[in-house]
Symmetry: C2
Subunit: 188 residues, 2 copies
């Protein structure tokens, strides 16, 4: 269960309101741990209840309805402990791979379009990551926080590169024989 820890990390990087967190979970943190605003508000409630975060008194107190949160020592301790815990990697669960396996049985009709569409999406994501890399990790100011964050970004880049490469290959294979599939029950 990682959502609370994702939120703690985000709040340590910068104290935020629920909506600001939601926005950051659409980029940045969200690139490897996505969450909707409903999840975030629910979890903020729990984290406050259990004394891991607290609401900040407002800097501009007059106009008041945004609630900014900051991490308390208990929250930081919990996060540090979680970083060192044993957690087995979750088994891969990818619908596209499943669809390819299904296509081996019922035919790949229509799948080539999807493969090319996914190829486009992954190309775009890869391009975005590369721009972030150029912007945020330019030469080698390699302080330790920076090096770790760069590692994470590099994982994203490698993963997207893999998909681009694999989808290119897969699209070629499916195009070669995808159209006329052998349906053993043609009338069904």
């Amino acid at each position: 269960m990682s959502l609370p820890h994702a939120i703690l990390t985000a709040l340590l990087e910068k104290p935020s309101s629920g909506l600001e967190l939601t926005r950051r979970f659409d980029r940045s943190i969200g690139y490897f741990w996505s969450a909707t605003h409903q999840q975030i508000y629910r979890e903020l409630g729990r984290l406050e209840e259990t004394g891991q975060i607290r609401e900040l008194p407002h800097e501009a107190p007059a106009r008041g309805r945004r609630k900014e949160y900051e991490v308390l020592p208990a929250g930081r301790a919990e996060l540090a402990a979680w970083v060192a815990e044993e957690h087995d990697p979750k088994p891969v669960r990818d619908a596209l791979l499943l669809r390819l396996r299904a296509a081996a049985v019922v035919g790949a009709a229509g799948l080539d379009v999807e493969l090319r569409r996914h190829l486009g999406l992954h190309r775009a994501q890869l391009e975005e990551y590369r721009q972030i890399e150029q912007r945020d990790f330019p030469a080698d100011r390699a302080d330790r926080e920076n090096r770790l964050q760069h590692l994470v970004l590099q994982a994203g880049i490698s993963l997207e590169s893999f998909w681009v490469q694999w989808l290119t290959e897969a699209a070629a294979v499916v195009a070669a024989d995808g159209g006329p599939e052998p349906d053993p029950r043609p009338g069904a």
Copy 2:
């Protein structure tokens, strides 16, 4: 929602009982779509209710409590339709990447052990995939079903290779400075 389609695919490859399916979801299909026996029985019930599969009359009818299922035409049609549908790839959600990002804030104490442990797990998985490849895709008997299944396995191999490579790099970086982390609240 892909579990029913995973089950339909498995049953088309070979009619099976709930327990047999469970076993196949621990290898084979399970390499990219895992499921527990509770999920499987629940879903088998639904698929039977909606007329996509049916129970087979037993071949060895005397000793009778295993229920074997086969796919009906409606199920095959549903699966073929699903293969061609548009489904956006699910955003990456990886706890280890999140932990690295957290480590950038609270320190990487203890994380090096985890990185090396994961490295071992991924090395083992990669080795297993390579053996399957040698066993099931030897020279080039490239009928169409075979080529698609090989593509899926190659995806698995590439993904595990990526992790092995990335974890090696990550372990090196974390080992270089992981020990003495800068905790801004040392007493917490």
